[in-house]
């Protein structure tokens, strides 16, 4: 393996800051770009913002699940999105009622972080898990689920208004796609890479890769809600993200493999 592949190692705190700040700033940036230019072409920035949250969530999954939770990794991803969907609906709805529509993102995020911490406390104290990073991990996961749903919802609706998101994401049922694709982006990386040689960079690169595929899916949804241009931009961006990170992931997988051998062509059939 003469080829050197770019790897990285990030502390959970660093990743949390990148995830929270990157995602929130990204969602607001997408909103500002959309409203300044008066189009919905920049909705794809919301999908890119969701990727920051996904990376934070994927890292939390690998920290918590490394202890073994007994039910398989998918359960924690579904929990994350379950907490997220409630927080998003609540945040957007309450902000609309109070007349501070734009702060819905912050309200949803704060509620989800608190709720995630409470669920972590319950898991440790009531269920007796005794996983030291449980509270921290579930706080991250809950926030990640919320940001993923918010980002991809923005990518489909092109707006942060409660009414718009209800009309174009919830009433159409596209939320189910966000739920499963977002869940996959958060839970799949660790599920696919777990084992004694699990490496942080390989897992997180895999997370972004799946996030790119989810962006393609939301792009197809956006074709219907936002029109051809915004949808196509999103599909192309999603494909670019997927391709770049797939190649990177492939090289990381080769780096971590003990040997890569070619098997050649299939032997000719003996008659």
């Amino acid at each position: 393996m003469a080829e050197t592949v770019k790897g990285f190692k990030l502390e959970p705190k660093q990743l949390r800051i990148y995830g929270l700040v990157g995602s929130v700033v990204g969602i607001y940036l997408a909103y500002i770009l959309n409203s300044v230019t008066g189009t919905n072409i920049f909705s794809f920035v919301g999908a890119l913002a969701a990727l920051f949250g996904v990376v934070m969530g994927a890292n939390a999954v690998r920290r918590v699940c490394a202890y073994g939770i007994g039910t398989g990794v998918p359960s924690i991803g579904m929990l994350s999105l379950g907490m997220g969907v409630v927080a998003v609906l609540f945040g957007l709805s309450i902000a609309e009622q109070l007349g501070i529509g734009l702060l819905g993102v912050i309200i949803a995020l704060v509620y989800s972080l608190i709720f995630g911490y409470v669920v972590g406390l319950i898991a440790n104290r009531v269920m007796g898990f005794n996983i030291p990073v449980m509270e921290e991990g579930l706080t991250d996961l809950s926030g990640a689920g919320t940001l993923a749903i918010l980002g991809w919802s923005f990518a489909i609706s092109g707006s942060l208004g409660y009414a718009d998101i209800v009309h174009s994401v919830i009433n159409t049922g596209f939320l189910a796609i966000i739920f499963i694709c977002g869940g996959l982006a958060i839970l799949h990386p660790f599920n696919a890479n777990l084992g004694p040689d699990e490496k942080q960079d390989r897992t997180l690169v895999n997370g972004v890769m799946v996030g790119g595929m989810s962006t393609i899916a939301t792009g197809i949804c956006a074709l219907m809600t936002l029109g051809l241009a915004a949808g196509m931009v999103q599909i192309v961006v999603g494909f670019a993200v997927w391709y770049y990170f797939f190649v990177w992931y492939f090289r990381l997988a080769k780096r971590d493999a003990s040997a890569v051998v070619g098997t050649g062509l299939l032997p000719p059939t003996v008659q």
Binding site: I69, G70, T71, G72, P74, S75, I76, M78, L79, L81, G82, M83, G84, V85, V86, L89, F90, S93, I94, Q97, Y111, F115, V118, V119, I122, A123, V126, M127, G128, F129, Y162, A163, V166, I170, N171, G173, L175, F179
Partner: protein
């Protein structure tokens, strides 16, 4: 948002629904990956998938019942009645779970060729058949014995009633079936995952020693659903209808 007696009733309904889901999960014979390889008793998939499946079918059938009620000529005076809705939710979830267990059993019996046996009890409490001779060495039972089938049906009924009990008040609060269903699914997943963590992924049914741990899940689901329910009743309908 006005807080009145009705709001408190809605709050209680959602909390009870969440508790039913949390306890109902303990009845469902979840085998996880070992059961998929016929090395453990139960259905060969995870708790969350089963809970989600039965909960969603419960929501769907409850929604159908609500729609059927609204077609009644006397709907304007009568309004919704909660009991048929809960019952339909339970029946929908039971049909889903029983269909899963039945078709799963065909595969275990005719494709894998494993005799159904439970490793947790010596005699099936319902059929009184002896179990240990049929448990293959190195496994913890195979297939879905009668007791697990009955237990799973009870669990699905509880999950379906729970799902309908979360969905019904939410529709009355926000008048938007899609949003209520999404919200109910969120609450459903939280409770189902907490309960499945409590049983550590696998359980055979109410005869399993792990079933005695249900008070822990009850407490956990009570706290988490209470926090979610408080938020759920604050959501208001959109201005200008759905």
């Amino acid at each position: 948002m006005n807080f009145d007696a009705n709001t408190i009733i809605y709050l209680l309904e959602i909390i009870i629904g969440g508790l039913l889901v949390g306890v109902g999960v303990h009845f469902v014979p979840v085998g996880g990956a070992p059961a998929a390889m016929a090395q453990a008793t139960g259905i060969g998939t995870g708790t969350v998938q089963l809970a989600a499946g039965s909960g969603l079918t419960g929501l769907l059938s409850a929604g159908l019942m609500m729609h059927a009620m609204s077609l009644s000529p006397t709907f304007a005076q009568d309004g919704y009645s909660i009991w048929p809705i809960l019952l339909t939710g339970a029946v929908g979830a039971m049909i889903m779970m029983d269909a899963t267990m039945l078709t799963g059993s065909w595969i275990y019996a005719y494709a894998v060729g494993a005799p159904f046996a439970s490793a947790k009890v010596n005699y099936d409490p319902i059929t009184m058949f002896s179990q240990p001779p049929y448990v293959a060495p190195g496994t913890v039972g195979q297939g879905i014995p009668t007791i697990c089938f009955v237990s799973g049906t009870i669990g699905a009924a509880m999950g379906g009633i729970g799902g309908a009990m979360i969905y019904f008040p939410l529709v009355l609060i926000n008048h938007n079936p899609a949003m209520s269903a999404v919200f109910a699914i969120g609450i459903f997943f939280v409770d189902a995952v907490l309960a499945s963590w409590n049983i550590q992924g696998t359980i055979e049914g109410f005869h399993d020693p792990k079933f005695k741990k249900w008070p822990k899940a009850f407490k956990a689901c009570l706290v988490s659903t209470a926090i979610l329910a408080l938020v759920a009743v604050l959501i208001t309908p959109l201005v200008g209808g759905v």
